[in-house]
């Protein structure tokens, strides 16, 4: 597979995992805008595990476990505690940035040192299995949401929480489970970044990808399968803009190229406007 497609897929996969988790949580009616922080936690956990001798697959697993805990912590405040999820998410980003920076310095020293980690081995098309698997996760979520009883309960928690309660379900339990799963997927996204294309952790290594993933959920109008073209568009545009810069001679300022993925997402968003799709009780506290 040529360099362009490989790098486009590698850049798309972490976004896709994180966005799928976020979509799951938002369909349940909560929202975690601290996704960037969760990705950072996953990236750091994978890095720390790999540095202490774990293989790349074990590092991925460690990140997923950290993500489960992160999701549970978010749910404790924003779901069970009924705090404003936007405030919790904002604080979450700051705490994760500071916490991972602090832990990194414990590991690498105050002035840092370049500590490389072993990447996941390639499986097919020069890409690791975990990166390829990421592209099937939205389909799994689609089936879960439309064909299974717990999936329907989750959608009810996001669209009509009172109805769920009336039929004996618990909105808090459903949203907490969704948050835990979303945390694991977000952390896996961050871990995948460190274990594939970025060979190390530095403070802020996710470089805004968590926010791009948030935008992807809106772009997909909360439909899991639409995340795949969205992530490919953003990943492809990112890989493409580096090519365009490297090709040179266009006379266009580099900032225009850097903005390209974001601009594309924005246009796509504008084109899809008015078709709705947001869970009706998104961001409201559990009854």
């Amino acid at each position: 597979m040529s360099g362009f497609f490989a790098i486009a897929l590698l850049l798309a996969a972490p976004l896709l995992l994180a966005a799928t988790g976020e979509l799951l949580l938002e369909r349940a009616g909560s929202i975690q805008i601290g996704l960037e922080g969760t990705m950072l936690i996953g990236a750091f956990t994978a890095f720390a595990a790999a540095r202490s001798g774990a293989g790349p697959h074990a590092a991925l697993l460690a990140a997923a476990c950290a993500g489960l805990l992160a999701g549970a912590a978010f749910a404790a405040f924003a779901v069970a505690g009924r705090a404003d999820p936007i405030l919790v998410g904002t604080a979450w980003n700051l705490v994760a940035a500071g916490g991972t920076a602090f832990s990194y310095r414990l590991l690498a020293g105050a002035t840092g040192s370049v500590l490389e980690v072993k990447a996941l081995p390639p499986f097919a098309f020069g890409l690791p299995a975990a990166a390829l698997a990421a592209f099937f996760v939205p389909a799994v979520l689609e089936v879960f949401l439309t064909r299974t009883r717990p999936g329907l309960a989750l959608v009810a928690a996001g669209d009509n929480p009172l109805a769920l309660e009336a039929t004996g379900g618990s909105v808090v339990a459903v949203r907490t489970a969704a948050s835990v799963a979303a945390g694991a997927l977000g952390a896996l996204g961050g871990a995948l970044l460190v274990l594939t294309v970025s060979p190390t952790f530095v403070e802020g290594v996710t470089a805004g990808r968590g926010f791009l993933a948030l935008a992807l959920v809106v772009f997909a109008r909360w439909k899991p399968l639409r995340l795949v073209p969205g992530a490919l568009l953003v990943g492809g545009a990112t890989a493409l803009q580096y090519r365009l810069q490297a090709g040179g001679g266009t006379g266009i300022p580099y900032a225009v190229f850097l903005a390209l993925p974001g601009l594309l997402a924005l246009f796509a968003l504008a084109a899809a406007r008015g078709r709705g799709g947001a869970p009706k009780a998104l961001g409201t506290p559990a009854p």
């Binding site: 790098i7 002035t111 802020g204 580099y254 850097l258």
Partner: protein, 326 residues
């Protein structure tokens, strides 16, 4: 990123303890030095070097030190002002981007000396340290030009700051000197932390036929090195000696920041600071071009010789390396 209150607390506590008996308790009477960095000091590069410089000032000149990491230009001014109000004797702003804020605050606090690393603004209590990293970057370019098979080189940068562009200009000049008609293309990732972006940029340049990569991407440099390894091409370290990080690194353009920081602080302490630009190039020993011993076997002896004589000419002033006008 937030300032590091733990360090600030520790330093102010130290200041209180140290002058509790003799001086007024709220103000430090000793030599105090502060540092503002635009990124985390754990980057093992540009910011780490400055923090090591600050620590060296503490050790060698007995100064009380303080550091904050700042993000936005409004924070630059706020922190400069906060340190000046505490009668800090010397405040470093680490990078070109600090000079406007430093110039504004310097007018209001004449008894504090402000030093920005790179820049051009001066006043009786304001001057830039100019690291002439361009001289070593030119040598990297010359080596690449002599050894390239494709006539194409790539340059990966974080943010398009004048100081970053200036090193690219010098590298390109060296490359063209070594390979007339050759081209060197820049790619910017927009961030000094985006390791994945830096790798993607390196791969894109390699796929365009570049067989040598220069970078000024700070913490993201490892992404460039990994990209170079994957495509079996060569890259150069910058700011710190990065030769050990990858077999793809042919040589490093190094800044000995602690040395420049201590020399500058000593001038201020001894009352010899005169608001003149402080230049450090190859001749001062602060800037150096260091071959990677592990890769040297692949370099033709004639290229090593030529690099050496070019370095001599730059040291003696017989050849002036082009640099950005900033």
């Amino acid at each position: 990123m937030k300032p590091r209150p733990s360090i600030l607390l520790a330093v102010s506590a130290f200041a209180l303890v140290s002058c509790g008996k003799s001086g007024p308790p709220a103000r430090s009477t000793g030599f105090s030095v502060a540092l503002l960095t635009p990124g985390p000091i754990s980057d093992a590069g540009w910011n780490a070097g400055a923090y090591e410089g600050l620590k060296a000032i503490e050790k060698e000149l007995g100064a009380s030190i303080s550091h904050v990491q700042v993000k936005s230009p409004s924070e630059f001014e706020e922190q400069f002002r906060a340190y000046a109000a505490k009668a800090t004797r010397l405040v470093f702003g680490h990078g070109f981007e600090f000079q406007d804020a430093a110039a504004r605050v310097a007018k209001e606090y004449p008894s504090t000396v402000f030093v920005t690393t790179s820049g051009s603004k001066t006043a009786p209590n304001l001057a830039p340290i100019v690291f002439e990293l361009e001289q070593a970057a030119y040598l990297c370019g010359l080596v690449s030009g002599r050894m390239t098979k494709t006539g194409k080189a790539g340059m990966v940068g974080g943010v398009e700051l004048p100081s970053i562009k200036s090193t690219f200009l010098a590298y390109e000049a060296g490359f063209v000197a070594g390979h007339p008609g050759g081209t060197a293309r820049p790619v910017f990732t927009g961030s000094f932390e985006d390791v994945a972006g830096a790798k993607a940029a390196a791969l894109a340049l390699a796929d365009q036929g570049c067989d040598f990569l220069f970078q000024n991407a700070d913490a993201a440099a490892l992404g460039v090195f990994k990209g170079a390894e994957e495509r079996k091409i060569r890259a150069f370290g910058t700011n710190k000696n990065q030769n050990a990080l990858s077999p793809a690194v042919l040589a490093s353009a190094v800044i000995d920041m602690p040395r420049a920081f201590v020399e500058t602080a000593r001038r201020v302490k001894d009352g010899k600071f005169d608001g003149q630009t402080l230049r450090y190039g190859l001749a001062s020993g602060v800037i150096s071009f260091v071959w990677n011993p592990a890769a040297l076997a692949n370099v033709p002896p004639a290229v090593v010789e030529e690099t050496k004589s070019a370095e001599e000419k730059i040291r003696s002033g017989a050849f002036v390396v082009p640099r950005g006008n900033f």
